[in-house]
């Protein structure tokens, strides 16, 4: 036993932990291989999801490409959110609209939206929900495709939107009727639009995209 105490510390360390080190290296290699094999698929999934949502909003669009520089939008409290606007083109390559991802704070968690507009950035083509965690039965009604809430945004003008409790949901204008029982969620979506729409339009005009 007394020999061990005078043993080389590095040798002692290796004796004790060789198994850990070897398995760490092996497992690391395993993960690296798997990740290399699956990463393209994962990236493709994300693009597919965006395209499916944005394509559902802009029905003529066949593909989406990055357009211009990424735009950083001030989301209050000194924070900014970086938006990459994508250009939707039809089969012939003509511009049919714009789409981008943005987010705001909902009732329970962040709500991530895909917002699409027409080619002139004058009218909304609607929004889709990338991720949200709103109350089932109330706030999660914003995720219903072509539901009462989502359809109010189809064709609405790109200006400051306003949330009302009373009103006609059928009329398409800048007044959005709240989901009854889910005022916070309805407000969050409208606020997200108001935070992102006009600054992005301005920045796009500066970049010469519009």
């Amino acid at each position: 036993m007394s020999n061990n105490e005078t043993k080389n510390p590095i040798l002692f360390f290796m004796q004790e932990s060789w198994l850990l080190l070897v398995s760490a290296i092996l497992f690391g290699c395993l993960l690296a291989c798997l990740s290399a094999a699956w990463q393209p698929k994962i990236i493709q999934n994300e693009i597919d999801k965006f395209n499916a949502l944005a394509g559902g909003l802009l029905s003529e669009a066949k593909g989406f490409q990055n357009a211009g520089e990424s735009i950083s939008v001030d989301i209050g409290k000194g924070k900014t959110y970086s938006v990459r606007v994508k250009k939707g083109t039809d089969a012939a390559g003509n511009l049919v609209g714009w789409a981008f991802v943005c987010e705001g704070s909902g009732f329970a968690d962040k709500i991530k939206l895909v917002v699409a507009t027409d080619a002139a950035f004058e009218k909304l083509a609607g929004f889709g929900v990338l991720s949200s965690n709103e109350t089932p039965g109330f706030g999660d009604k914003i995720t219903i495709k072509d539901g009462f809430y989502q359809s109010q945004f189809k064709g609405a003008p790109v200006t400051e939107l306003e949330l009302t409790k009373v009103g006609d949901a059928e009329t398409i204008d800048s007044r959005i009727v709240a989901i009854s029982g889910a005022t916070v969620t309805s407000e969050a979506v409208v606020k997200t639009f108001n935070t992102f729409l006009l600054p992005i339009k301005e920045a796009m005009a500066e970049q010469g995209l519009l």
């Binding site: 036993m1 061990n4 105490e5 004790e16 932990s17 198994l19 850990l20 398995s23 760490a24 497992f27 395993l30 993960l31 798997l34 990740s35 699956w38 698929k41 994962i42 999934n45 994300e46 597919d48 999801k49 991720s131 109350t135 089932p136 039965g137 109330f138």
Partner: protein, 227 residues
């Protein structure tokens, strides 16, 4: 090696203490494979009898589909970690064994997470952080410690399958009850009549706590009667 041997004694002492449940102690002596498998499903069901892995049990059981995905992911991770730990059990340094377990489990969980992201992106998005959180699920490290580090490969595999099955079945039962009441569907197929008004609360955390509590109570009553 005074320090080393000190740890040695201490850690084996700990090992004994960790075998808190009756089911666990029985297991290492009795090597009947059938019993090992069914122990995981009833006698020492990880959720209902050992109350391990409560976080996914409460968090992902709003519907059967995510619950099943979670259950199968845990089966995979459990199998992977039990196999690796069982194979390396003679090489394990007792005072470094937890590090080794964690390394193995983390690898398996990362594989499961990548797989879901690549091939089931929607499920992966809806399970969110709960797949990576399997790393800290006590069931897996508990089985590595109590079974795989002391038993041979076959026993460890059967144990992983039994425990995994117990976990998956429990999650699915809990999720089925909650999904029916919260949405009127099971596995996204409508089963309730059209006039049924969904109980939204059952899809919220409160529904998970109440349903789990009632199931635990029922299981206790049944096992008291059959004991």
């Amino acid at each position: 090696m005074v320090l080393g041997s000190g740890f040695y004694v201490l850690s084996f002492h700990e090992n004994d203490k960790l075998n808190i449940s009756k089911g666990l102690n029985k297991m290492s002596k009795d090597v009947s494979l059938g019993k090992t498998f069914f122990a995981g499903i009833w006698d020492s069901n990880p959720v209902l009898r050992l109350l391990l892995g409560m976080c996914p049990t409460l968090a992902v059981t709003a519907a059967v589909k995510p619950a099943l995905t979670m259950g199968l992911s845990v089966v995979f991770v459990l199998l992977f970690s039990n196999i690796v730990v069982s194979l390396l059990r003679h090489q394990l340094k007792p005072h470094l064994r937890i590090l080794m377990f964690t390394l193995t489990i983390a690898t398996a969980v990362t594989i499961a997470d990548l797989y879901l992201k690549a091939f089931m992106p929607e499920m992966s998005a809806s399970l969110g952080p709960y797949i990576p959180l399997i790393i800290v699920n006590c069931i897996i490290i508990g089985r590595a410690e109590a079974c795989a580090s002391k038993n041979g490969l076959i026993v460890s595999i059967i144990d992983a399958l039994g425990m995994g099955a117990g976990f998956t079945i429990t999650l699915c039962v809990l999720a089925a009850i909650r999904e029916v009441l919260a949405t009127g569907n099971i596995f996204e197929i409508t089963v309730m009549p059209g006039s049924f008004t969904p109980w939204a609360a059952m899809g919220m955390p409160v529904g998970a706590f109440i349903t789990l509590g009632l199931i635990l109570g029922a299981v206790n009553i049944i096992s008291k009667k059959t004991a």
